[in-house]
Amino acid sequence: MKIHKYDTVIVGAGGAGMRAAIEATKRSRTAVLTKLYPTRSHTGAAQGGMAAALANVEEDNWEWHTFDTVKGGDYLVDQDAAEILAKEAIDAVLDLEKMGLPFNRTPNGTIDQRRFGGHSRNHGEAPVRRSCYAADRTGHMILQTLYQNCVKEGVEFFNEFYVLDQLITEVDGVKRSAGVVAYELATGEIHVFQAKAVIYASGGTGKFFKVTSNAHTLTGDGQAAVYRRGLPLEDMEFFQFHPTGIWRMGILLTEGARGEGGILRNKDGERFMEKYAPVMKDLASRDVVSRSIYTEIREGRGCGPEGDHVYLDLTHLPPEQLDAKLPDITEFARTYLGIEPYTDPIPIQPTAHYAMGGIPTNVMGEVLADNTTVVPGLYAAGEVACVSVHGANRLGTNSLLDINVFGRRAGIAAAEYSAKADYVELPDAPESFVVEQIERLRTSTGNERVATIRRELQETMDANVMVFRTEQTIKTAVEKIAELKERYRNVAIQDKGKRFNTDLLEAIELGNLLDLAEVMAVSALARKESRGGHYREDYPNRDDVNFMRHTMAYREVGADGSETVRLDYKPVVQTRYQPMERKY
């Protein structure tokens, strides 16, 4: 075991982690621990764009953007945070441009902007062009640009280091962050990083679903690490199902395709979104479009021999426009489906896409131990965190924005904190939890396989807690997850070695997914209403009287060692906007 000491440790090198690192490195001795090489992070998969009311192509302002964000999130958004997001969006985009990001340009040389779902002029009047983009590779350009600037700033990376535990020391009854424990993939060595400040920027957790746009590596490691240490997770029942994933594969086809004029059609060729969202049509908010697609499918208007998908039609758009604005997604259709989007519509279905919930933070990125108390020295930003700017449903292009705005804020706040704070003493044998976990898996003689349990988990999640949920389906999921958690104790791995033991790490990642799936299902069961991405067929309406509040889930360990999820609730911050019915 090795012990390292840094002022600031950042977990993750996606957009949020690297944006934080650029700030933190300037102000404090910083290490970035990342399980992937930075440029492999899933931020690179983001396609459509990053929202900011630059007003480069038409009238726009940050107040409209704030309103759209609050409404898009079905009023579960903390409005003070949404206002910061929308205001700081403009500088966030300009900062990236100055760092070198190659945005698409207007004829007069300014950053070009396009339409995206849920973004409107003047509080819902008509779609507005607010998304700053670089073809359909905006995330790739953000990730590359931030990495380039990390190289420029001399950011210190520990690549292929998996953070597996959060160290907490209680000082005078206050939980404080003492550091993290990491596993080095290349050697199997354990490293303890003592740090004055730790920032989680470890991304999402989509891999508990089967049909998902998320990478294999998005397994919620950060959420699970803090949850296991008794800290809460907020709003985990809210997961976004993006309307247009490639049929059966889940690979994303950006909403920008509809922003450029693409149309969803059922088997009769009907533009069905006109029925469900007369104003915004195909560009209504994602939860609305995903439910509309499944309604079409259920009512027998789905496409294909099994009627199990609908079409994204781009055939009426000029090939030059597709080549210039949507080169990557049209190539995905060719590569993975053998379909030519110039002439043929693309089969799509909703795909599990984005975790609105996560580690609760305030607007400085400080992690909360309950509804109000911060954990000194602990920060989170990006998809792993819940500020909450996305509420019950995130608007497209608001996450690339979130990672930049709150990644920067967390980087500055953490570094300023570590400049004046002292190290917190490490707990005794800080590595013990990780060492035991690894030894148990390495020496297990059980007869369960990681892949089998993971498949069953993904199948139950897709079937029971996806776009449509009921008491009964959620209960089915809760029971199945409990069974899988039990079986997980008997999981055995084949690779017993130290070098690049990805067999071992997949087993650990599965443990994280199981914990988080349980939190999601239990939180969803208790929320007896429909709001944003959480749709209960047995409670189809939003219930502001009982449920205008954030869910806070805590892990409870009984005297007999049994684990349960305890739920509590936190008020929503409302400033300017009173909840209204959400129509598009």
């Binding site: 992937l36 090489y37 440029t39 492999r40 992070s41 899933h42 690179g44 998969a45 441009e97 100055k98 070198g100 190659p102 945005f103 340009r105 004829p107 007069n108 040389g109 950053i111 670089a134 590779r137 790739h140 590359q144 380039q148 190289v151 290349a186 089967k210 990478a215 294999h216 590596t217 049929w247 059966r248 499944y294 259920r298 099994e306 199990d308 998908h309 995905f332 590569t335 993975y336 053998g338 279905q349 990681v450 199948e459 897709d462 079937a463 996806m466 776009v467 449509f468 949920r469 009921t470 389906t473 089915t476 084949q494 690779d495 070695g497 070098r499 690049f500 990805t502 067999d503 067929e537």
Partner: protein, 259 residues
Amino acid sequence: MATPVLDKADAAGQPEPGFADSPYITVTFRVRRFNPEVAAEATWEDFQLEIDPKERVLDGLHKIKWDVDGTLTFRRSCAHGICGSDAMRINGKNRLACKTLIKDINPEKPITIEPIKGLTVLKDLVVDMEPFFQAYRDVMPFLVVKETNEPTRERYQSPEDRERFDDTTKCILCAACTSSCPVFWNDGQYFGPAAIVNAHRFIFDSRDEAGEQRLEILNDRDGVWRCRTTFNCTDACPRGIEVTKAIQEVKRALITRRY
């Protein structure tokens, strides 16, 4: 009613247009194995798989790892050609395993899968990427602008100037090009195509002011003049970047000092 399950296991068993009754075929994956914890030498190992030929080579590797041999080791993340993790030599050509469909690589014969060449193999298909990233870092892969030229809003750039370097912005640092280059195989000191591509991305960006410095770096004896225009890199690039053309443009810029 629950969300309709579209991806039922049995749905995969349905016939698909263009294929015979069962979509599944039997293929052999012939994989280069190496684990220094077990043996000093690399060996070939064959795996037989039942697989839908429209699946990716990466899906096949996962089938092996998840259901047959958990020790098989490779890098991967996004599974759709965007993160650059899984460049490997498939039937002797560098490709991304997640962007290569089984049906496109002659599945009647055993499919050979090896680590990319020219970088030290650490385990199975995993190579040491450090020298590759070092060459990248050495070309100053970031925008350089004099502080005094910093505008308050965005810098302007015409669509034509933006288009000038578009091709080389697409790079995902997968190393397929560099590890297909015979010059790089013979001399690991050569910067390699990927580093030159990333220098090109800035040299031809109208906003950048360090083109001259980067050109000097690439004028080095391990720089761009080592390229022998074999086009292996262009063939290998999964992003369709015209790598050789980019290298030629850098060479020309060195001669004319115009870019």
